[in-house]
Every structure is written in structure tokens, then in C-alpha cells.
């Protein structure tokens, strides 16, 4: 009995904040103090679908940056994960600390000092600069996840493949990467989610020229256009939720919720 009450409280507490978001996204006029919108409106949806709208270009920018960051973070973090997971060497603890620190130490605090240099070397106000700076919070997570996977990986498989005549690239493609697939899926999800949700680093380096969806959301929110803000928010939330659902279905049971561990 007490348990059901607890479960009820839990569910209500978790789901309640979603409610105003959903309602405001479809409301036209909704003045205080009515509990329900006086007018429903598809304004939000229309804005999304309009060609040339800010939201659409924001979506494209977010997707582009996210995809680029994911690919690069995987390319950079996976070898590091292999080094940390498969080998033991002197100075490993220090390397591990250095590589994982960006996941804990706030990005803004550390990267504030770099803005001038991004400006100077022409990387500010560009997608390339934003992608670069997004690597800082994402590479540690990719490294962490792949290191754990490599620690459980038996190198014997690779040797066996070599003995059967496979060349190094073939070994990578046919043996190593397939074995790492679940971890790579999780790592890619983390990287994409972190980049997708990132705001302050994009503002800092992108300078407003690179308008990703989080920036748009902020603009609408502070501009008190709550309907649009809510609509953009729903758009922002959809891919992460879908990604988590898709990935956790393909993974063994325990991994499911852990995939949701996007940026804290």
C-alpha cells in the first residue's frame, strides 16, 4: 500500500514538468489565470515546417554539429579507450585522469580563456569552431565507455583473425568493431546527446552566428514567446528520447537506462 503511494508520487513528480511543455506548445492564447489555453494554435508546428524558418535552419545546424562531433569524438576517443582498456602502462592513472577530467570540470570555466584564440585564428563564429569546442565534453565519455568495453575484450579474437589471414584493417572491420558495437552505440549516443544539448559553449565560440536549437530556445524564452519556446523545446527533446528508446531496445537489458546518461 505504502509502496503504491510511493510509486504514484514518483511518477507524478517525474512526469509533471512535461505537462506545461506539451500544453504551451500547442496554445495560442493562454492568459493567466486559466488552467487551460483559451485558444489552441498550430503556430509552433507551422513555424517548424516553414521553409527558411529559423527553427528549421537551427535544426539543420544542430544536426550537422551533432553528427560531426559524434564522428570525430568516436574517432578520437575510441583509440584512447583501447589504450586505457587493453594495456597497462606507466602513467596510466595520470592519463586517465587527464582524459576524464573534462567530464567533471565545468566546460565554461576552462574554455572561457580560449575564446580570444578562437577569434584570432578565425575559428570563432564558425561551425568548425563549435564542433571543435564540443569535443571537449564529449571525448571523455567516449573514452570512458570504450575503455570499459576494451577491458572486457579478448585480444585473442584479433590474433585468431590474423592467423587466419586477415590484414589489420580487415581485423578492425570484421572482428574488433563488431565486438565493440554495443559500446560504440552507447558512446555515439552520449556524444550526440551532449553536443545536441550544449548551449553555453556554442554561445561562447559560435558567438550567435552558429544558431543551434538550444540557442533558439533561449531566445524565444527570454523573448517571452513561450509558445514558440515550448515548440522548440519539444523538438529538442524528441531526438534524445527516440535515441534512448532505440538504443536501449538493441542493447542487453541493463544498458537501457544508462544510455540516458547524456550530459548531466
Amino acid at each position: 500500500m505504502r509502496r503504491s503511494v510511493g510509486v504514484g508520487v514518483l511518477v507524478v513528480g517525474v512526469l509533471t514538468p512535461f505537462v506545461p511543455l506539451l500544453v504551451w506548445a500547442v496554445s495560442g492564447r493562454w492568459r493567466y489565470p486559466s488552467l487551460l489555453p483559451q485558444e489552441l494554435s498550430a503556430r509552433g508546428a507551422r513555424l517548424l515546417a516553414e521553409p527558411g524558418s529559423q527553427v528549421l535552419s537551427g535544426l539543420v545546424t544542430s544536426l550537422t554539429v551533432g553528427a560531426a562531433v559524434t564522428v570525430l569524438a568516436l574517432a578520437v576517443g575510441t583509440p584512447a579507450g583501447r589504450a586505457l582498456g587493453l594495456y597497462s602502462f606507466r602513467g596510466q592513472r595520470l592519463v586517465r585522469f587527464v582524459l576524464l577530467a573534462p567530464a567533471i570540470v565545468p566546460g565554461l570555466a576552462v574554455l572561457l580563456g580560449t575564446q580570444v584564440f578562437f577569434l584570432r585564428y578565425g575559428l570563432a563564429d564558425s561551425v568548425a569552431g563549435v564542433v571543435l569546442v564540443h569535443l571537449v565534453p564529449t571525448v571523455p565519455y567516449v573514452t570512458l565507455v570504450t575503455a570499459a568495453a576494451f577491458a572486457n575484450f579478448d585480444v585473442g579474437y584479433e590474433q585468431q583473425a590474423r592467423l587466419l589471414g586477415a590484414r589489420p584493417l580487415q581485423v578492425l572491420r570484421h572482428v574488433t568493431l563488431p565486438a565493440l558495437r554495443p559500446a560504440l552505440m552507447v558512446a555515439a549516443s552520449f556524444a550526440f546527446l551532449i553536443s545536441w544539448s550544449e548551449y553555453v559553449l556554442t554561445v561562447l565560440i559560435g558567438g550567435g552566428a552558429v544558431q543551434t536549437l538550444p540557442l533558439l530556445l533561449f531566445a524565444y524564452a527570454r523573448g517571452a514567446d513561450l509558445t514558440l519556446a515550448a515548440a522548440v523545446a519539444l523538438l529538442l527533446v524528441a531526438p534524445p528520447l527516440l535515441l534512448v528508446a532505440a538504443v536501449s531496445r538493441r542493447l542487453p537489458r541493463d544498458h537501457g537506462p544508462l544510455v540516458g546518461l547524456g550530459r548531466l
Binding site: 583501447r82 580563456g113 523545446a233
Partner: protein
């Protein structure tokens, strides 16, 4: 156990140190240049270094200015308070939720999925939902109006843009409770049940098992996640920017604000603040690793 790569090196190809170095090089360059380099640059700029400009000199003035700046002092108070309360709240609620879910038999997967749903939500979205929910003309205020408790928006307490940070704390607790909960849930699934069975046969009742078996066993996970939550909330920008007021503002907000000030003289102070944030968080983690972690790991 997997065989270590050390035991099975092929004779041809690169020597081992070179191989490891090559694997680490890309990640270390990225992190080294941007993170370590960024921090070093931040320190330098806080001490007066002005790149690409003439006429600068080293000095610690920025730190003294920041220390005496009333905005900064108030900001430190707000940020610490918000981080502490959010961490405590998320930890307590997260552990409670994990224990509850662990004991649930039916629809546990569904319940876990619902509980974890805030996790992938970006913080900017979370901040917006709290704004919509808790602002003076927000949904909660309209509910109290419908219930006859408040008459106008002004009668509803100011939870957003306030000096205490209520909405900020609410957002952090909403987002971080599932984080703590999911990690603790994983720890609970790793053999705690068997130990509870053993404790039952030794005469331990429910509360005794909780106190003497379950809580000590999940302590490492709880400690680790608490540190992570505190570190994150301390350095987060988006949420206090949207949900907080102009004064006091959270430390990261103040730092960026000073950084973007037209008056370049504010820049060293901005750097000083961000250096302090970075050092504080790093120090917290180091202290954790040196003490709590070691104490709690003795368990294992």
C-alpha cells in the same frame, strides 16, 4: 577475463610504447590543447595576461577585485547554496526512488523507463519547463488560483528570478534524481539481494538490513554520484541563466557576463572567477578520491 594485450604482442609492427602513444595521441591532443591549454590560458589571463594586446602586466589584482566584488560574493553564496541543496535533494530522492523501484515486482521496466525519462532531456529544456511550471504566471500559480489560494500572479511566491534559487534547485533535482537513482539501481542489482537473504537468515529485520547491508553497499555509488552532481551544478550556466535573477546570479553566469563586458578591464576578473570555479571543482574531486573514495572502497 580477457587476455591482456601485453601478453600477445605481435613481433612485427610498432613497439609497444609507440603503439600506445599513437592510440592516445588524438585524444590527448584535443584534451591537452583545449582543456589543459584552456585552463592555463585562463590562469594567465586572470593574472593579467592579455593576448594580442600591448601594455599588459602580471598582477593578482583580478583576484582581489573579485574577492571584494559584492556581486561575486553574493554569487558564491547562491551557487554554493544551490549546489548543496540540489545535491542533497537529488541524492536522498534518488536513493529512495532506487530502493522503491528495486522492490517493485510488476512493471519494473516500465517504471524504470518513466523514472529515467528526464535523463536525456537537455537542461535548457528542463529550465524552460520549470519556468513554465513555477513562474508567477506559470501553471502552478494558476492551479493555486483555481484553488482559491492566490488571486494574482504577484501573490504567488517568486520562485524564478529570485534570490534563493528555488526554481534552479527544482530543475537540478528533477534532472539529477534519476541520475543518482539509475546508478544506485544498478548497484542494487549487483548481488545485494543475496546478501540481504544471508542477513535475513541471520536475524536482520527490514530496517536493520537497510542500515547494515544495503546502505553500506550502495555507499560508493552514492558518494560518486553526489560528487558528480555537485560538480555539475556548481559549474552549470544554462539553468541559472534562465531561471535565476540578475542579483545574485550564479558564478558561471557572472563569469560570462564579465567576459562579455565591453570594458575589457572586466575580463581578468571574469577569468579569475572561472579559474576559481575550475579549481574548486577539481579540488573537490581530488579530495573525494583521496578520502571518501578510499574509505568507501575499503568495502570492496
Amino acid at each position: 577475463m580477457s587476455s591482456s594485450a601485453d601478453a600477445v604482442q605481435p613481433r612485427r609492427g610498432l613497439a609497444r610504447p609507440a603503439r600506445i602513444g599513437l592510440l592516445l595521441a588524438p585524444a590527448l591532443s584535443v584534451v591537452g590543447v583545449l582543456f589543459v591549454g584552456g585552463f592555463a590560458l585562463g590562469v594567465a589571463q586572470s593574472l593579467g595576461y592579455q593576448p594580442f594586446l600591448d601594455g599588459w602586466r602580471w598582477s593578482t589584482d583580478a583576484y582581489t577585485t573579485a574577492w571584494q566584488d559584492p556581486a561575486v560574493r553574493a554569487s558564491v553564496g547562491l551557487t554554493l547554496r544551490v549546489s548543496l541543496l540540489s545535491t542533497v535533494g537529488a541524492t536522498v530522492l534518488g536513493v529512495a526512488a532506487a530502493l522503491l523501484i528495486h522492490r517493485t515486482r510488476r512493471a519494473r521496466r516500465l517504471l524504470t523507463a518513466v523514472f529515467a525519462s528526464p535523463l536525456p532531456v537537455p537542461h535548457v529544456v528542463g529550465a524552460l519547463t520549470m519556468l513554465l511550471l513555477l513562474s508567477q504566471s506559470g501553471l502552478l500559480s494558476r492551479v493555486t488560483h483555481a484553488a482559491g489560494v492566490t488571486g494574482t500572479p504577484a501573490e504567488f511566491p517568486a520562485l524564478t528570478a529570485d534570490g534563493f534559487g528555488v526554481a534552479i534547485i527544482a530543475e537540478y533535482v528533477w534532472k539529477e534524481t534519476p541520475f543518482v537513482g539509475v546508478v544506485v539501481l544498478a548497484a542494487l542489482s549487483a548481488g545485494v539481494d543475496e546478501l540481504e537473504d544471508a542477513a535475513r537468515t541471520l536475524g536482520a529485520g527490514g530496517l536493520q538490513r537497510l542500515r547494515h547491508v544495503v546502505l553500506p553497499l550502495i555507499a560508493p555509488s552514492v558518494a560518486a554520484t553526489s560528487v558528480l552532481v555537485f560538480a555539475f551544478t556548481f559549474g552549470s550556466y544554462e539553468v541559472p541563466f534562465l531561471l535565476g535573477g540578475p542579483f545574485p546570479a550564479a558564478l558561471p553566469v557572472v563569469a560570462l557576463q564579465y567576459h562579455q563586458d565591453v570594458d575589457l578591464a572586466a575580463r581578468p576578473e571574469a577569468m579569475a572567477i572561472s579559474v576559481v570555479i575550475a579549481v574548486l571543482v577539481a579540488a573537490l574531486v581530488v579530495v573525494y578520491l583521496a578520502t571518501v573514495d578510499r574509505f568507501v572502497r575499503r568495502v570492496r
